[in-house]
Amino acid sequence: MNMPFYVAPEQVMKDRADYARKGIARGRALVGIRYADGIAIVAENASATLRKINEIYDRIAFAGVGRYNEFDQLRVAGVRAADLKGFQYSRDDVDARSLANLYSQHLGQVFTHEMKPMEVEILVAEVGHSTDGDQMFHVLYDGTVFDEQDYSVLGGDADTITERVRSGFSDDLDLGAAVRLGTASLSGPDRTLSPTDLEVALLVRTNGRRCFRRLDDDALGALASSPTEPTEPTEPTEPTEPTEPTKDTG
């Protein structure tokens, strides 16, 4: 009879964590930054159709890095959980914290019990009715949750990027400054990222019931080029909601 080799549990966990970290580090990073009117999420993403940042509920957004199929599965599970909770109780009862806990439990379960851990890191952001209510939860591949205040960095090379965001962050950033800080932190000093390399979405405090909106390449270009903010994008006249038929996000 063949006996399986004994492998210490510490070693098993370490191998799994290394595996997940390697997978995540291969992907491109994203940052979430709090600014005066909400939360801006800037991701490096060459695809205009396969999204990393998405709407979960009225005031909640989801962003993921790593394997697309894995974080997209988590996103859909989040939309379902939120819509079911809002239907069963009230729209006010849906919050980012309980969603983050749900993700944390699922990721933790998969990490310890499945063949392979999920190679993802996710961000669950909620914009409050005032600045005090803004929340960002950063969930790791093994279910660890971080409650982050001003900014959150996910994905490969996170330490370097975090350092860049920290040095540029202040408490009163406007939208343009937040997006430029996010872009510069992702690109680093040696390269530049054009609007087509980026995916940017916002949770705008004053956007009505559904706070989530995307910034298209034109709006990004305008924000990137001028240091003083040219257009205030909270105008309801120019919605970039996913309701537009031209924006087929697949």
């Binding site: 999204r51 998405n54 979960i56 079911l84 809002g86 069963q88 996913p242 309701t243 537009e244 038929p245």
Partner: protein
């Protein structure tokens, strides 16, 4: 989380069924004095469509509610108006709104207008058993079709039958009177002001002849809910503008 071969996709009603949250269907005969909602109309005009509904709900021969909102935003570019048993109708609208938003979030793009109309059709069909028990729901669906760049509207029957109309639709107990007013006054060149006056007049005449339809209530400041749906989305007309519109209608009636 569902396995890939057994996933409800973007179907919210199916998700409710799977999670055991779907309410059981009503069976047996309901009481006759449940609140009922009445007259709603939708009319096409040059920029899109306008929808309007009175505010009264009746239970038997009593007025049960004076401020009911029967015209509601389904999503950014469509609206739904309901007539029939108020409870099931409100629940249906809530589920319909949620389904449109759920689809949009899961799929990443909104349903086509035709798809939304079809979805509502299935929900009305699902209520058939309750309809035979006297709790039918007969909605109107209207919206701005972003692909075809025009306003479109649909009438339904209790079996879920869905009929697209070219000019206008009316539903509820006062629909005969309201529909006739619109039929006489309708032209293809109606602009916003013209169409607002036409729907205001239609609800006025319905309230005048049908006891279950409420007229404008200047004393309490309660006016019908009127909304336009254009390329810019669903926009509810303010009470101030409606007060002016109904004042001109009253003036027309006075000199008649």
């Amino acid at each position: 989380m569902f396995p890939p071969h057994d996933d409800p996709g973007s179907n919210f009603p199916d998700l409710l069924r799977r999670t055991g949250l779907k309410q059981p269907a009503v069976s047996g005969h309901g009481p006759d004095d449940l609140p009922h909602a009445t007259t709603c109309v939708a009319v096409r005009y040059v920029d899109g469509v306008v929808m309007a509904g009175d505010r009264r709900a009746t239970a038997g021969n009593l007025i049960s509610h004076r401020t009911m909102e029967k015209v509601v935003e389904a999503d950014r570019h469509s609206g739904v108006a309901i007539a029939g048993a108020a409870g099931p109708a409100m629940e249906m609208v809530r589920l319909f709104q949620l389904q449109l938003e759920h689809y949009e979030k899961v799929e990443g793009s909104a349903l086509s207008l035709e798809g939304k109309a079809n979805q509502l059709s299935m929900m009305v069909r699902g209520n058939l058993q309750a309809a035979f028990a006297g709790m039918g729901v007969v909605p109107i669906f209207a919206g701005y079709d972003l692909r075809r760049r025009l306003g479109r509207l649909w009438a339904y029957d209790i079996t879920g039958g869905r009929y697209e109309e070219r000019e206008y639709v009316a539903t509820g107990s006062g629909s005969l009177h309201a529909g006739t007013v619109i039929k006489v006054g309708y032209t293809e060149q109606l602009d916003r002001q013209g169409v607002l006056k036409l729907v205001a007049r239609s609800l006025w005449e319905a309230a005048d002849a049908d006891s279950a339809t409420g007229g404008p209530d200047a004393l309490r400041g309660i006016y019908p809910v009127v909304a336009t749906i254009t390329a810019d989305g669903f926009d509810q007309v303010t009470d101030t503008e409606l007060a002016t519109t109904f004042a001109t209608v009253a003036e027309d009636v006075r000199v008649r």
